[in-house]
Subunit: 582 residues, 2 copies
């Protein structure tokens, strides 16, 4: 089975996001309307289904090979990269000034989703190029911009993000890689980094490493970290690749999934000849890195959407082909006729649909922050994005792990056999709850930074918007169910999450359940709102819009109660966590 972009869903949800965030009112987006979005999605689908999807299992089976510092990507990878680069996909949402296409995020988001569904391991370089470019645009000197940006935006060179060290993962403040200032204003970089995606590969001529390191007199902890641009090959005056910059790949991880994407250990400056240049201010590396991090977290949430969609498509097709068991009339039927199989397919379908809607809304909100002249609107959008980022990242990735399990379950015994490719989805998905900040890290960000430090402003705004939407049809069954959940959420915020006297350890012990509750309620809200629009539009396409209503009903019956259960857990004072002695 080959992946096909869920074109109709995407088109409608892009339109909904465009209208909800009123992008039509933004002057700078006048040339980037829904017709353009559709045309681009069409092209992207051809590439995703025609070029990337067929390589997905090849990458899993072959994996990357490491030998003597070199990484060889799987068969077809290099050629696909060249096509991807030459088609201009890398710079899709990057400035035209540097060779990009300058498209708004709301158009880029469904395109990203297609890449993520069709071959996640392959396209990981694309998010790195996007995030790396945004860092350089925002923080780098003009000289650095001139040296690197066009090369990155056009895909001539790739970006690698070198953060983690063996003893510094979630806690970046513990990192020890050194940056020693040189007389010419550059720095000599020295240290070991791990978990560097595409830190070494054979697809491009140069790799620009963005490395977090400490200068000798930097303060301890996270306030003493600076960010450096460290190319694999130094760049000559004329922009060509010069001398080797003493960056060595020492190995790649043997991972349970994402075999096609090399996860590298890198040694910088073994021979004291690794030169880096400072990006932005000294000791403010984490500020810059957070730009990339937020980008990466949203992209990671979209990985949840993309893999859920892939799992759904595969399970759906198998369930239509596999004949097993009898239907109501005693005849043998395809398993899609069995209510329990339908339940699993609807879990996949409703969750991926709702998360997609949320992801597209976030992309449209980013367009507001980047394109609107209305300061109030920009500020509100920024706050909303900040609130939704940990929810979307955390919940979408937790969900895709569960959903991949359901998809395997639809396959039965065949789901355990690698040839179907569905087990690969489970294995690939497994990392999404870990990298770019674990779900635990997201949940602390949500509870502490995004809610408590914000004194509940952003979340109050979100709840008000939900209640406004519910008020449009208060007697609607789905809205009624949602309304009860929103009330419970408001209460839990009041008694627990926003309680100034809350026991912080106790709060951290329920932060993940709280994040999951928020995710479920946000998804139920998306579907409830979409169902109201669907109801109004039903005459145009009864089958499609009737199904949107059914999805909202399904979600409110099967998933919303789980969100409410998590809220119950959050609200309980005695939960045994503190009492247990390991």
């Amino acid at each position: 089975m080959s992946y096909q972009a869920p074109y109709k869903d995407m088109q409608w949800l892009v339109e909904q996001a465009y209208q909800t965030q009123q992008l039509g009112n933004l002057e700078s987006l006048q040339d980037f309307d829904l017709d353009l979005a559709n045309a681009i999605m069409d092209e992207a689908n051809k590439f995703a289904s025609g070029v990337l999807a067929p390589l997905n299992m090849v990458g899993d089976e072959e994996g990357c090979k490491f030998s003597d510092g070199q990484v060889t990507t799987p068969t077809g990878w290099k050629d696909a990269y060249a096509q991807f680069r030459d088609s201009g996909w890398i710079g899709l949402a990057l400035p035209e000034e540097f060779g990009g296409q300058g498209l708004p995020k709301y158009i880029a988001q469904p395109v990203n989703e297609m890449w993520l569904s069709s071959n996640l391991a392959f396209v990981m370089f694309a998010a790195l190029a996007q995030g790396g470019s945004e860092i350089l645009l925002k923080f780098a000197s003009d000289e650095l911009k001139a040296r690197y940006l066009t090369q990155i935006v056009t895909g001539e060179w790739t970006v690698a993000m070198a953060l983690t060290e063996p003893n510094a993962g979630s806690d970046l403040g513990a990192l020890t890689t050194k940056a020693i200032p040189q007389a010419d204003g550059t720095y000599q970089i020295k240290g070991q980094k791990i978990y560097i995606t595409y830190g070494e590969h054979d697809m491009a001529d140069n790799i620009v490493h963005l490395v977090l390191a400490r200068t000798p007199d930097a303060p301890a902890g996270s306030r003493g970290i600076s960010l450096f641009a460290v190319p694999k090959y130094r760049v000559n005056e004329d922009g060509s690749c010069g001398e080797f910059n003493d960056i060595r790949c020492t190995g790649i991880e043997h991972k349970t999934g994402l075999h096609g994407s090399p996860t590298c250990s890198i040694s910088y400056g073994d021979n004291d000849a690794c030169v880096g240049e400072l990006i932005g201010n000294l000791n403010q590396g984490l500020v810059a890195m957070f730009v990339l991090m937020n980008e990466a977290r949203l992209s990671c949430g979209m990985q949840g959407v993309g893999l859920s969609e892939l799992a759904f498509q595969k399970a759906l097709q198998y369930s239509k082909e596999r004949v097993q068991g009898a239907g109501a009339n005693g005849q043998r039927v395809a398993i899609i006729e069995h209510p329990d199989v339908k339940r699993m397919l609807l879990n996949l379908r409703s969750e991926s649909f709702a998360l997609r809607s949320l992801g597209y809304q976030i992309a449209a909100l980013i367009d507001v922050t980047e394109q609107s002249d209305d300061e109030e609107a920009v500020k509100a959008a920024e706050k909303r994005i900040a609130l939704l980022t940990p929810i979307f990242k955390g919940f979408a990735t937790e969900q895709v792990n569960e959903l991949a399990g359901d998809a395997i379950q639809v396959y039965g015994g065949m789901g355990f056999v690698e040839e179907t490719g569905i087990a690969q989805v489970m294995r690939d998905a497994r990392i999404t709850t870990i990298y770019e900040g674990t779900t635990g890290v997201q949940s602390k960000d949500l509870v502490h930074r995004k809610i408590r430090m914000d004194q509940g402003q952003a979340i109050s705004g979100l709840l008000a918007e939900m209640r406004g939407d519910i008020a449009k049809a208060p007697d609607n069954l789905v809205n009624k169910r949602l309304s009860a959940a929103v009330d419970q959420l408001a209460q839990v915020l009041d008694t627990t999450v926003l309680n100034p006297n809350a026991d912080l350890a106790q709060l951290d012990a329920v932060a993940v359940p709280f994040l999951n509750a928020m995710g479920g309620i946000c998804c139920a809200w998306q579907l409830a709102r979409l169902a109201l629009t669907a109801q109004e539009s039903k005459a145009q396409d009864e089958a499609f819009f009737g199904n949107v209503e059914a999805l909202a009903e399904f979600y409110s019956a099967y998933k919303l109660p789980l969100a409410q259960a998590a809220l119950t857990t959050v609200s309980l004072e005695q939960n045994g966590v503190a009492a247990y002695q390991f």
Copy 2:
């Protein structure tokens, strides 16, 4: 890290099961008391941790090799099998008459758990020997018993279970393998079977295949299936292995987990020279097979326990070693100090503890059915086991998939790397919700056969027992929470599951949520009861018994609300499943 049996837990939970089911009153068990149980667990732990556990990752990395009809097991497998066999572990709970040790099930269960934790892929032959022997004991002629039983019980030969065909999986009634009667009373077997665990291997001299097939004039569907004993090598008069019986392995599956256990496709009678002998009555093969199936389902539930324990042990050890992030006083701490990590560890710990308790209680109930002279007690135990089997199988295996995810999460990035072995637990666990009847199959068995056809008798008995336990300390917080859940369960049974007018398709669409709710409530009940006993015993060992209380509190706060949410889903009339059109 090497697995070590959770000896103290096991000892206490065995004792609890022994007392709850009053095994001390059974005359035939007078020689098999708790002291004996402890001595045997001790020996088993040495074997599990010393011999089996070190081979677990070897099996995963090497896998089985297939070439020209032969299957080669991983390095060390053959030798470990010889040790396992020579130590008499295979016949532990099988009759002394045939070379077994005749131990009761309550002693065999913790021993089984150790095998399943330490090397699931390896020990799959043990459950096949147990179930195969029980079939022969119950249904085979004395001639067949004499020919096969001693060889199987002593492990000279192994058993393979040949049920599934490419078009007959969950629906065995669709199978087409033929059994053609011969003049001498034997049958010629001809057909293709798949998914046969240890259907071919290099560890024993002969393999006794138990094959489901149809005679030429058998009725269609599941009423025309008979069971045959079909050895790989025919058995000579003197009991030695004779002529090759035309059974060919045509391949092994490339699976995502359980690499060390060969999953074979087998072709029977390619040259019309495969001889089988009927076991039990013609056309009643499924009746016999259900003996093995029930055995296998309970064993599969124990796989959930065993793998959860393994995941817990690994995550616990890692969480104590891995230093990351700051504690309350700002110092760097091992991650076990973080409340969110504690939450995940307690999810693993409480669930595996509760499921272990349930599994041991079931084993003790089997002892009652096999050893008691009290007909009433036997009948009640049989009904209880029948009710608990799909719950235990379905819930324990669903849970282990979630728990393996939590364990990986504790490892962070290292969890995605194969060298830690934790990703293997996830991959190995993945099949447990599928084989021996998917969770969907278990849920239909639970709702239709075990509850509706039973007119709610067995489940009423279970609820009464739960309420009796709650009544012992009605003011206890954990009991209060449990009591609310039991009330909700009783109501959902009344309005929905036992409702004679229920829409059956609607019921099937909520059968898995119902099974999960039952599982969660049963586990919460086990822990609540254990916590009361722990409270009484606290003076003896404050640390251990205090923790048992904390586990019950944790479960009632984090897991019980999810069970109640599932009950809410079951009770809702509109859930979108019927409305959605694929």
